[in-house]
């Protein structure tokens, strides 16, 4: 039985490789889409804010921003700063898109802040660069919070002392305030390498999305044989229908595994993605292919022709894919629960858990869910197919 199935498997694989559409679905399209999408979402490392600085004030508080805050960010590589003499120059540069944003410290800024009269930092942003705009505003707001904090210290001390503190004493307090460690600070609880970065998420999402198209070829192959009459000829030989199914399923399985493995490796080498610990990834890939096979066999059992099967399977793959968040992660609300009824969602969830944990065993819950998907759909699918052919 196994030998006959292997022969069918080998013949199918050769046939599929000759027909280039499987190569498109299994390798080319997922990689292309991952590449395009990943270009659209900048990662932390390659994000840089190009911004202009206009210091119309020239005094110490403004310098605290231009030479303190901004200079530190330039050293960190987050900001690429250009100094402009006047607002018009910076405005033109933002308008032309040479810089994404500009900070303007108006004349009299330092005096206003020191006197407790407020003061204003103005931010010019190019709305075509939404993220840069947000970051530029965030940086200005950070300095605003810092200035307000220091003013509050001085004002509170002055009020509490009821006039007993001299001007020079208040200045000393202001200096203490500058040096004061913040009472409440935030710390990063999750290291960047403990998570799937956007490119890896996309690569894995696209891979599992197109996996469901790739395994389809095994099932449509069976229907094609029936349409072309080659199935009857196969059955005329001393081969059971089960053997034919086994051969087809093995073909789809091999294609699925190869496609996923190639995509995992190709996205890692070409696009700098990382799916996580290889053992965990391998387990998830096998489980993912099982779920795809089961679901697609079930769906295929409703079709009479290969074309119908292909179309039905595309529908199911699209719906599951969207619900599972292969194009963009689903939010945490009620919509997020949708991902639990999608094998795609479980696959991505498994990868997320894997990267966040030290051990490959983190993928086991997702693996179990995926295998369950496969079995729950495969059994009725196989029964239906058997009845159809009988």
């Amino acid at each position: 039985m196994l030998r006959a199935a292997t022969v069918i498997l080998r013949k199918d694989l050769r046939l599929r490789l000759r027909d280039r559409s499987v190569l498109l679905f299994a390798f080319v399209i997922p990689l292309a889409l991952t590449f395009v999408f990943s270009q659209l979402f900048p990662t932390q490392e390659d994000f840089e804010l190009t911004a202009g600085v206009v210091d119309l004030d020239g005094d110490d508080v403004a310098a605290g921003f231009t030479q303190g805050v901004v200079a530190a960010l330039v050293d960190d590589g987050l900001v690429d700063a250009t100094t402009f003499e006047d607002e018009a120059g910076a405005r033109a540069a933002v308008e032309d898109g040479d810089i994404a944003a500009a900070w303007i410290l108006p004349a009299g800024f330092s005096a206003d802040v020191s006197a407790g009269d407020g003061g204003e930092i103005r931010v010019l942003v190019n709305p075509d660069r939404a993220l840069s705009a947000e970051v530029a505003r965030g940086i200005a707001d950070g300095y605003r919070a810092e200035l307000d904090r220091i003013s509050l210290v001085v004002a509170t001390s002055a009020t509490a002392a009821q006039g007993a503190l001299s001007g020079s004493q208040l200045e000393e307090i202001a200096e203490l305030a500058v040096a004061q460690a913040p009472a409440v600070s935030t710390t990063e609880l999750i290291a960047p390498d403990q998570q799937l970065d956007p490119t890896s998420y996309l690569a894995a999402g696209m891979a599992v999305f197109f996996l469901f198209f790739t395994v389809t070829f095994g099932i449509t192959g069976f229907l094609e044989e029936r349409q072309q009459g080659t199935l009857q000829r196969l059955l005329a030989a001393p081969i059971g229908i089960g053997t034919v199914h086994l051969g087809k399923a093995m073909g789809a399985f091999v294609l699925g595994i190869v496609s996923m493995t190639v995509l995992a490796i190709a996205s890692a080498t070409m696009l700098d993605a990382s799916w996580g610990d290889p053992v965990g990834v391998a387990v998830l890939i096998v489980a993912g292919v099982i779920s795809a096979l089961g679901v697609m066999a079930f769906v295929g059992s409703f079709a009479r022709t290969a074309e119908q099967a292909g179309n039905l399977q595309s529908i199911v793959a699209l719906v599951f894919g969207l619900a599972g968040g292969v194009f963009f992660p689903i939010g945490a609300g009620t919509l997020g629960q949708l991902a639990l009824v999608s094998p795609h969602g479980w696959f991505l969830r498994g990868l997320g858990d894997l990267v966040g944990s030290d051990s490959w065993t983190a993928v086991l819950p997702a693996t179990a869910a995926l295998v369950a998907f496969g079995v729950v759909f495969a059994v009725p699918g196989a029964l239906r197919m058997r009845r159809e052919t009988a």
Binding site: L24, V36, V113, G118, E120, A133, R144, T156, A183
Partner: protein, 394 residues
């Protein structure tokens, strides 16, 4: 002449019928576009806010206040989460853009002037980075009162707890530094997005995605026309080749137009989507349908079997749609990708649609985009005619 026209219409009609007879096409044309419009509308419609998870004790007033402040910060929507483990997995799975973990005892720490640490969890992307700056600023604002009270207490020999309320009062009366943002150049994105209905954004960009995708899907039927010998049999009749070619193109065009009209009418009636100036939108949609027809005809003549064509069709349809700003708005593209986007018809159509819908533009405002689309259509239809003529007559 009239006879030729009648033949063209007849061939188009048959092509449309064949397309609609395939039941799964009905799903792709009728159900999927609306499902996606609703899905994307629900997901991004709520102000495009970044979701930030927050774990905080209910009975901690300071923690609740911090959560409220974060929620009112621009562009952030706070999602309450029960415990740290859940928060960690939601962030690491990408369901949330970031999260804050406020340990117990926050209020006490703020009251006593003790130092305190709040946990932040962020995705390894640039959004989380800007999220962190916002969270830091909000936290610093809240902690400023405690910081001020403790320094003032040192300076005046009073207790921190006594001065907390005083510091809060002082802050109420302080004018404070302000940060103002002004949009310069480009499109005034923030205002435009807020002016859009919940479904507008999804609907107009999806329109072009689906018109193009559906057209490319209809190239499979063109291949069958060739494979089944329908085309050669038509050639053996006195019908001239240009008429047959026009009929086959007409079939694709009708499918594309049908798809476009369906999406426009249903979203306008069902979700109240605004499609702008009728004349400008009609011309734009007609031109884009011609472009899609050309692309479908090219695919239908290049490929030999329909599974290859549908594979390439889905792939091309999705890649061009993403590149052309039909899944992520062009406004969010980095500069380099904007250049690439200009090579897709989708980008031109989306730009024109934005002009028409968001800025109430008329046909005169989108002449350039329409001209480029017409150029796409002429080139694609020309190439398709050449290829198809060769495929049918050799």
């Amino acid at each position: 002449m009239m006879g030729a026209l009648r033949t063209v219409v007849q061939i188009s009609r048959v092509e449309l019928l064949r397309f609609l007879r395939e039941r799964s096409n009905v799903f792709f044309v009728f159900v999927l576009p609306l499902a996606l419009v609703v899905f994307i509308g629900l997901q991004f419609g709520g102000g495009m806010g970044t979701q930030l998870g927050a774990v905080a004790a209910d009975d901690d007033a300071a923690a609740s206040e911090l959560v409220d402040r974060l929620d009112t910060a621009e562009g952030i929507e706070v999602v309450p989460i029960d415990d740290e483990d859940e928060l960690r997995s939601l962030v690491s799975r990408g369901n949330l853009s970031g999260g804050v973990l406020i340990p117990d005892g926050y209020e006490d720490a703020l009251r006593s002037g003790a130092t305190f640490e709040i946990g932040f969890l962020g995705r390894p992307d640039a959004t989380a980075q800007s999220l962190r700056t916002v969270v830091d600023a909000v936290v610093a604002d809240q902690a400023a009162i405690t910081g001020a009270a403790s320094l003032a207490a040192d300076a005046t020999d009073q207790s921190v707890a006594d001065l907390i309320d005083l510091a809060a009062q002082v802050r109420e009366g302080m004018p404070g530094v302000t940060v103002s943002t002004e949009a310069v150049g480009g499109d005034e994105l923030a205002q435009e997005f807020s002016a859009l209905g919940q479904f507008d954004l999804g609907a107009s960009s999806q329109l072009f995605l689906f018109v193009f995708l559906t057209s490319l899907a209809s190239s499979a039927a063109l291949i069958q026309t060739r494979q089944f010998g329908v085309a050669t049999r038509m050639l053996s009749t006195p019908t001239r080749l240009p008429v047959i070619l026009a009929g086959l193109a007409g079939g694709r065009f009708v499918v594309a137009l049908f798809q476009a009209l369906y999406i426009i009418v249903v979203t306008a009636l069902g979700f109240g989507v605004d499609w702008g100036d009728p004349l400008a939108t009609s011309v734009l949609v007609l031109l884009f349908c011609l472009v899609s027809t050309g692309a479908a005809m090219v695919l239908g003549s290049v490929f030999r079997n329909d599974s290859q064509a549908s594979g390439a069709g889905v792939g091309l349809g999705l890649v061009l749609a993403v590149l052309g700003g039909s899944m992520i708005p062009l406004e969010l593209f980095p500069a380099g990708m904007l250049v690439v986007a200009r090579f897709t018809p989708h980008a031109w159509a989306n730009t024109a649609m934005a002009e028409i819908v968001r800025r109430d533009g008329g046909i005169a405002d989108v002449v350039m985009e329409l001209t480029v689309l017409a150029g796409f259509a002429v080139v694609l239809l020309g190439v398709a005619t050449f290829l198809l003529r060769r495929a049918l007559t050799r």
